[in-house]
């Protein structure tokens, strides 16, 4: 019998939009998670073969103690005039696991982002009373809020806000050069390649102590 996957205190599930406009905010979230010593997990890491996508999401959510959920794309899109509902669905699965799951699943903690703090009341009022964080579509605000939240829920001593911001800006500046030297198109980086570059950068970036 296959062993059941267990929840990890280092895994952070990132449930957010995947459109181009959101790329910088998504990268800021991944940077904050990695720089604070956690492992980001995202539906983007799933390959397409075999198991139905929803089954893979169940497994992914089950393995993560922490979840960051961004509802900022709950708005009609230009093509179909319908909102994207994957994010509220995955938030619901995460909350269900936390509420009905085994004791370790009940240790799950979640951060909900939107563009404005009280906008959710117009489309998902059942979340009333929960603390929704507004990032105003600003990647650096999402970065800092993620760091503050991880500090709070993990009770670990994490990298300071100013250092995090400085390393994030340095990485953003160097990313196009690194991508080019690796033979990749900086504008069209896949998630897998981006995460590989970020991990290698955090692990190996030379520093000089002054």
């Amino acid at each position: 019998m296959a062993a059941a996957p267990t929840i990890s205190p280092d895994h952070v599930f990132v449930n957010c939009p995947f459109d181009d406009e959101y790329t910088e905010t998504f990268r800021a979230l991944i940077f904050a998670i990695r720089a604070c010593g956690f492992q980001p997990r995202s539906a983007r890491e799933l390959d397409d073969g075999g198991q139905p996508r929803i089954e893979k999401l169940y497994g992914l959510i089950k393995e993560c103690r922490y979840g960051i959920h961004d509802l900022s794309r709950t708005e009609p899109d230009a093509v179909h005039h319908l909102p994207r509902f994957n994010m509220p669905l995955e938030l619901g699965i995460f909350m269900g696991a936390k509420h009905y799951g085994a004791p370790r699943q009940r240790e799950k903690r979640l951060l909900i982002f939107d563009t404005e703090q009280y906008r959710y009341q117009k489309f998902i009022s059942d979340l009333a009373g929960m603390d929704i964080h507004a990032h105003g579509a600003e990647p650096e605000i999402a970065l800092i809020q993620t760091r503050h939240w991880l500090t709070n829920v993990s009770r670990r001593q994490l990298l300071g806000e100013q250092d995090l911001l400085a390393w994030y800006r340095a990485f953003r500046e160097e990313l196009p050069t690194l991508a080019e030297r690796l033979g990749l198109d900086p504008a069209g980086l896949t998630y897998a390649d981006f995460d590989q570059i970020l991990s290698g950068w955090l692990e190996s970036r030379p520093v000089a102590r002054t």
């Binding site: 019998m1 062993a3 059941a4 996957p5 267990t6 929840i7 990890s8 280092d10 895994h11 990695r34 720089a35 604070c36 010593g37 956690f38 492992q39 997990r41 995202s42 983007r44 890491e45 390959d47 393995e63 994490l158 990298l159 250092d163 995090l164 390393w167 340095a170 160097e174 690194l178 030297r181 690796l182 033979g183 990749l184 896949t190 998630y191 897998a192 390649d193 995460d195 590989q196 570059i197 991990s199 290698g200 950068w201 955090l202 692990e203 190996s204 970036r205 030379p206 520093v207 000089a208 102590r209 002054t210």
Partner: protein, 59 residues
């Protein structure tokens, strides 16, 4: 004849702790090995180009 007691089947719990690459010289935090499939470059490729960069000044 003495019958050998059958060992009770136990379920092995698979550890899901991520694989650490070590601590970051910048942040001091653990850096975990990426889990996303389909990267077109290896971590060794990245390390090679990153190590060619001018050192970042730390206070």
């Amino acid at each position: 004849m003495k019958l050998k007691a059958k060992r009770k089947a136990t379920r092995r719990v698979k550890s899901k702790r991520p694989v650490s690459l070590g601590r970051s010289p910048l942040t001091g935090a653990q850096v975990f090995k990426p889990v996303a499939k389909g990267a077109s470059i290896s971590l060794d490729d990245v390390r090679r180009v990153v190590r060619d960069l001018e050192p970042l000044a730390l206070d």
